[in-house]
Amino acid sequence: MDAFADTALFTLLVAMLGGAIRVSTPFMFVALGECLTEKSGRINLGLEGNLVLGAMIAYAISFHTGSPWTGVLAAGLSGLFLGAIHGYVCKLPRVNDIAVGIAMMAFGTGLAFYLGKPYIQPSAPRLEAIPLGEWTGIPSLAQALAINPLFFVGIALAVGMSWFFRNTRMGLVVRTTGDSAPAAKAMGVSVDLVRFLATAAGGFLAGVGGSFLSLSYPGSWNEGLSSGQGLMAVALVIFARWDPIRCVWAALLFGAAGAIGPAMQAIGVTQGFYFFNAAPYILTLLIMASSARSRFSGRDAPGELSIVK
């Protein structure tokens, strides 16, 4: 064991494991939020904006109140606000959800950059990681297994959502609305209201995902914090075929891909650095290309999505 612990391969694997867990968390929240919204029959491409605004708000509130968890909640509320705007605008006649999403993405990031200027310097209290790897006695492993509590919240949320879609009336109503608006109308369900609520709730989750970016180790707010995770999460939902549990696995996979670059650096491979850093984007492309041809993706897609119709 000790001998293996010294090999480069071990270092690489550990770095990837830690990276996967770390990087996957925001993916997970955004993907779960997007999954909820899409299950109701709408696409919100603006979650990148929620993510960035969430990161900024979480940092600012944590700085002012001294409580990172209050920051997380505030980040969620800022996401709820953006999601609600999206949900409201989309129910106006002749409005396209994709276009609104892109506008909301610009609005969210713009607002975050505008409000966030004063918070680039100060340091705010972080969310403390839970040290789960101390017992191994291997420092690198212990570091990889120091896991942010939001990671576990995300997993619990995925399990909860999966249960919600199957076993609650609201869950069935959301799926109904997403799959067949005429059926929902015939049941007397207000399609617009369900979609509004689902978009707002999805926005909340994406906002919480944003708080992870600024409040987890090392913890800071700057304008380059997100590198398109909010957009990639949309691809991830398609890859996960609109299943919350599969969203978690997909987020881990994306996380691991995102960790390849830094992990290679950690073991001293400097050749092809940019290529490894591009891994998540390449993965996104590959996934979009292959899932477009997949036999199943069409089947599981909610029937009301504007891209499916």
């Binding site: 009336r169 067949s180 109308k185 007397g188 036999r295 069409g298």
Partner: protein, 530 residues
């Protein structure tokens, strides 16, 4: 959910007593869509415990009337009286509360939900957290009391059209509704299935368990199951009365007035050369299973080959493959001995046309206008297009106007989105597009689904005329009568293969029915006598 927990129908608990069959009256119902008066002061009375049939041409306003009663649309004027008292029904949820339930003309089941989930989510009083073990037990107990069954645990998308229709009806029964509105409940059922369903509902209505208002285009069903009839024509009440006092001629005269139906043209002799040849076609379903296999057929010019079969035996996949919507796994299509690849250019070059089933979904863009939909085959050619890319809306609307008049498509204007037309008129608009030119090969699937008798006759005449002009016609239909009436030869498809081919003159219903039933496919005994 009293129906599910009631111990025995004979001794209903006290609280179910008020939920008996109610009477319903609609008075002076008027509904205007934009400039189109869809309903004009229509009144209708359905006494408690009776079966009432609502008849009318396509676009007469039948669906609009019942949707107003259900609160799906808001009528501009008019009242609904339930058991003699005016009842305000503002949404389908109110209707459910008042005990009124409806099977819509277009399915309102949720495809990705299982049958059980569909049944539970439809209930206004569904618990917030669903105890599936208990619900499933209740549903199983409910199903056991029903004369027809539907599998509960698979997604509705995987059910056949007939099963979906039955599930829609079971949904109303499970909801314990007391006034059932059925908008063309039998259009996708075989005659035997229709008898099974309507027989059950008729018997239950006679026992006073509920009242039924049903829309249908089939006079046979009206005569056999309805107590009274109301006929609509162009949004107005044209007449009605007790079924016993009305002959089929009376009813059809009320429906279409004194318009005469076009006489069917005489059959020209079948041509000599093979025009369309399917050589060993195979194709797969999206999930990888075989959709159909070894389909080999030759169709001569001036010949109609009818493909009979119970729905879901690969016919719709075959139509998709011929329309270029589904890739072939193997085999080749030849037209006049030349291999045919399904490209837009070739459809034009070889003059191949088609009318798939559910044209609103498969052959139209619902939100585009009628004129644009009619131009799909010709928008990129002169006179609509110059230089292959410059579109002139003038000639497009001109052509649409002409075809709308020739094929009597009822539409407020050529610019109305096609999704706002009644089902029958969508069909006519697409047929106008596909049949108006020179046709060499014509593939039609269930062309008369949901059409009124006058349109049925009209469309069948059009198909026969295309044949007489020398087109090779492949007619896929679940209606055996249609095939026996139109086809020169019949081929039976069963489990994705051609099980039987014979000239129509040398075969009969029973033989065809046996081959349709194939190798013991349980529900497939549809070919028998009427």
């Amino acid at each position: 959910m009293t129906a599910l927990s009631a111990p025995a129908p004979a001794a209903p608990p006290a609280e179910t007593a008020p939920r008996r069959a109610p009477s319903l009256e609609a008075l002076g119902m008027t509904k205007v869509f934009g400039g189109l008066v869809a309903l004009d002061d229509v009144s209708l009375a359905v006494p408690a415990g009776t079966v009432h049939a609502l008849l009318g041409e396509n676009g007469a306003g039948k669906s609009t009337l019942v949707k107003c009663i259900m609160g799906f649309y808001r009528q501009d004027r008019g009242d609904v009286l339930l058991d003699g008292t005016a009842t305000a029904i503002r949404s389908p949820r109110d209707a459910q509360g008042a005990g009124i339930g409806m099977v819509y003309q277009h399915f309102t089941l949720v495809p990705s939900l299982t049958a059980a989930e569909n049944l539970v989510v439809a209930r206004a009083d569904a618990p917030s957290v669903i105890d599936w073990a208990a619900e499933k037990a209740k549903l199983a107990e409910f199903m056991a009391r029903m004369p027809f069954q539907v599998p509960l645990d698979i997604p509705v998308a995987d059910l056949s059209a007939g099963e979906k229709q039955k599930l829609e009806i079971l949904k109303l029964l499970a909801l314990d509704q007391r006034f059932l509105i059925l908008d063309e409940p039998t259009s996708v059922l075989t005659p035997d299935e229709a008898d099974e369903v309507l027989g059950l509902l008729g018997a239950m209505a006679r026992r006073g368990e509920f009242t039924v208002l049903m829309i249908t285009h089939k006079f046979r069903e009206v005569s056999a199951y309805a107590d009274d009839v109301t006929v609509l024509r162009r949004g107005k009440r044209a007449g009605g009365g007790a079924t016993a006092a009305l002959s089929v001629e009376d009813m059809s005269r009320l429906m279409i007035g004194e318009t005469t139906i076009r006489e069917r043209a005489a059959r020209a002799p079948v041509g000599e050369g093979t025009v369309l040849e399917l050589a060993g076609l195979f194709a797969d379903n999206p999930d990888g299973s075989r959709a159909f296999a070894e389909i080999s057929l030759k169709v001569k010019g001036g010949e109609i080959v009818g493909i009979a079969g119970v729905s879901g035996n690969g016919q719709s996949a075959l139509v998709e493959a011929l329309a270029g919507q589904r890739p072939l796994a193997d085999g080749r299509i030849f037209i006049r001995d030349e291999p045919f690849e399904p490209t837009r250019e070739n459809y034009h070059k070889y003059k191949v046309f088609g009318l798939p089933e559910e044209p609103l979904k498969n052959a139209a863009v619902p939100r585009m206008s009628v004129a644009e939909n009619i131009a799909f085959r010709s928008f990129d050619r002169p006179p609509i297009a110059s230089l292959g890319w410059w579109l002139s809306p003038g000639p497009m609307r001109e052509k649409a106007r002409d075809l709308i008049a020739r094929y009597r498509v009822k539409t407020p204007s050529p610019d109305t989105p096609i999704e706002h037309l009644s089902g029958g008129n969508v069909q006519r608009a697409i047929l106008a597009r596909e049949l108006s030119g020179d046709v060499d090969v014509l593939v039609v699937a269930n062309p008369c689904f949901g059409l009124d008798f006058a349109s049925v006759s009209e469309i069948r005449s059009q198909i026969l005329e295309a044949r007489n002009r020398g087109a090779a016609v492949l007619l896929v239909s679940e209606d055996l009568d249609e095939i026996l009436e139109l086809a020169d030869r019949v081929a039976v498809m069963s489990e994705g293969k051609i099980a039987y081919v014979a000239p129509v003159g040398e075969t009969d219903r029973n033989t065809i029915g046996k081959h349709m039933a194939g190798h013991g496919a349980g529900h497939a005994a549809a070919g028998g006598q009427r």
